[in-house]
């Protein structure tokens, strides 16, 4: 057997027919190593959810194969469903059952009990235990997400598939959630997770950018950042909005986006960021900006993602 927990080869899936057909997943191949935390990063509608459904045996691909822990997702779906945990993008537990009842139900489904798997879920369940009598529908977003994770873990799965587990959850709960995933990692579980939050992507061992049903890049976060082709200047001044507009008109500018209180300016010239900074300072002063601060910085994952999306037409070009 291979070292891979998940292997996808040329997976494709199309919905609809003729003119309205949508190629949701388009020839996707990748491997997830055992015990790895693998991230799928991409915009809404990129095909991440369909990809998860193909990998969890919930859908049959039009072509290509996927193998999870040595089992084929089409032929051996029964075995796969025993050894994977899956947290769908939409909350899909019973809202009218309490925390405890949901957990018990899913444990029984897998032929286990809450007591038997208590050790596995304890790091997460301890947050939930005070609310165990509460109906799942009345939990907050962060709590629902923890409950869903518990239910996905209750049978001690070998692979965990998490479809946008932190969407709509506040930053503190999000952080907690990724820390919990870290503790699961220690138990040797392989995890495939998708997220729209770029700062979470850094926590993955490897990430894949998903766009229009294809994987456009797949590497470690460090390698992806290293491969960023432009020098970046982080710029701020008193009026952020007019600064952004002026930066875009700067002759050496490739493109420019807001990152919190800074604007990130991607330069055409490679390497010579120092000279550019001085020229930019002069340019901005000429435009009447005040309190200008310019710093050369390293690319973040978000920078890489932005650039890639923009290159591929982004979300505004194709109507």
């Amino acid at each position: 057997m291979s070292d891979y927990s998940v292997s996808a080869r040329n997976l494709s899936k199309k919905f609809g027919h003729g003119h309205h057909a949508v190629q949701a997943v388009d020839g996707v191949s990748f491997d997830v190593k055992k015990g790895e935390l693998f991230g799928l990063i991409g915009p809404d509608g990129a095909g991440k959810t369909t990809l998860f459904r193909l990998l969890t045996s919930l859908m049959v691909p039009d072509s290509g194969t996927a193998v999870v822990e040595g089992f084929d997702t089409v032929k051996d779906y029964r075995q796969i469903r025993r050894i994977i945990g899956y947290m769908p993008g939409r909350f899909s537990l019973y809202q009218d059952l309490s925390v405890e009842e949901n957990l018990k139900f899913f444990a029984t489904l897998f032929g286990s009990t809450v007591a038997k798997s208590y050790d596995a879920i304890k790091p997460i369940y301890r947050y939930l235990e005070p609310f165990k009598k509460r109906m799942a529908g009345r939990l907050s977003g962060g709590m629902k997400q923890k409950l869903a994770l518990c239910c996905a873990l209750v049978h001690a799965p070998k692979v965990l598939f998490l479809d946008e587990p932190t969407t709509g959850v506040d930053p503190v709960s999000r952080k907690e959630f990724w820390e919990m995933l870290g503790t699961l990692q220690d138990q040797g579980i392989s995890i495939v997770a998708s997220t729209p939050y770029m700062n979470e992507a850094v926590r993955c061992h490897r990430i894949a950018f998903v766009q229009d049903g294809k994987i456009s890049e797949c590497d470690t976060p460090e390698n992806i950042r290293r491969k960023f082709p432009h020098a970046i200047l982080a710029v701020r001044s008193r009026d952020a909005f007019s600064l952004l507009q002026d930066l875009r008109k700067f002759p050496e500018a490739h493109s420019c986006y807001s990152f919190g209180n800074y604007q990130h300016l991607y330069l055409h010239s490679e390497g010579g960021a120092d000279g550019s900074a001085a020229r930019l300072q002069e340019y901005l002063e000429g435009k009447g900006h005040q309190d200008i601060r310019i710093e050369p910085i390293e690319a973040s994952i978000e920078d890489c993602f932005m650039l890639r999306m923009n290159k591929e037409g982004g979300d505004y070009g194709d109507v």
Binding site: G142, G168, V172, S173, P196, G314
Partner: protein, 267 residues
């Protein structure tokens, strides 16, 4: 009777304009909402200046949604008083609804209606005069550069376009203030940024924006940020002042420190 009612409306609107002349689109004092013995919003007071971007931030369950519902005239406050768009929050809720815009990620437009049908529908809902609807529709489409897509079903648009359109619809009746409830939840970074550029454009046209978000980098884009913890306002200042006050580099860190105080994990 109808004439009397129209006159009364005119008087109320004139009074509202008088209130707005002080420069605040929202002024609330000791606003409180209790459900049974649970206090969702606990004596909050703040003012939103005309033309500013006011960020409203808090963990799930901090009372944000309840607060917004009171401001939009959907919940009656248990106690406290104030004005939104010049109208009294306790007595003139129907007037408030006509003078504000609202957009959330969850519900924006009808997917099974065409672009122009959506605009027409919402213009009707907001009570835009019949003869003004057609020119208004054309104006919106033109400003968005979207005239070609007039007859496209909204369901077939990309997310970015949908948001652009939803935002334009939310402000089509020229409200004093627009409430954006997590407008960018689950949206990719590029689309989010384009959306914020749209917000800035609207602000340049004089619209006041009240926005909630889970993205802390977006909190940086606000003029002032209000952080709620357990139904109370914990911090209210510009992002720069807040960062300085906590001695940290990003709003994310500010939020983490503020939210640590929370007792309530749920509501």
């Amino acid at each position: 009777m109808a004439m009397f009612r129209r006159k009364a409306l005119l008087l109320r609107e004139r009074a509202a304009l008088e209130v707005l002349r002080k420069g605040y689109v929202i002024e609330v004092e000791n606003l409180t909402k209790r459900f049974g013995d649970f206090t969702a919003v606990d004596h909050i007071s703040f003012r939103v200046k005309k033309g500013e971007i006011f960020g409203f931030i808090g963990a799930n369950g901090a009372g944000k949604t309840t607060a917004i519902r009171m401001l939009c005239g959907l919940h009656r406050p248990t106690s406290g008083h104030g004005q939104v768009a010049g109208f009294d929050i306790n007595t003139q809720q129907e007037d408030i609804k006509r003078h504000i815009g609202y957009m959330s990620q969850k519900f924006a437009l009808f997917n099974d209606l065409k672009v122009w049908e959506n605009i027409r529908l919402f213009a009707g809902i907001y009570g835009v005069e019949e003869k003004k609807i057609a020119p208004k529709t054309d104006e919106i489409l033109e400003r968005l550069g979207f005239t070609d897509q007039k007859n496209t079903l909204v369901g077939q648009l990309s997310l970015g376009w949908k948001q652009k359109l939803a935002f334009s619809v939310a402000i089509l009746h020229d409200p004093e203030i627009v409430f954006l409830d997590e407008p960018t939840g689950g949206v990719d970074p590029l689309t989010r940024r384009k959306f914020w550029e749209l917000i800035y454009e609207a602000v340049n046209r004089g619209i006041t924006v009240f926005v909630t978000t889970h993205y802390m980098d977006e909190a940086e884009y606000c003029n002032r940020v209000c952080m709620m913890v357990d139904g109370k306002i914990e911090q209210l200042d510009s992002p720069e002042n807040l960062r300085r006050k906590f001695g940290v580099e990003t709003m994310e860190e500010v939020f983490t420190q503020v939210a640590k105080k929370a007792q309530r994990t749920d509501d």
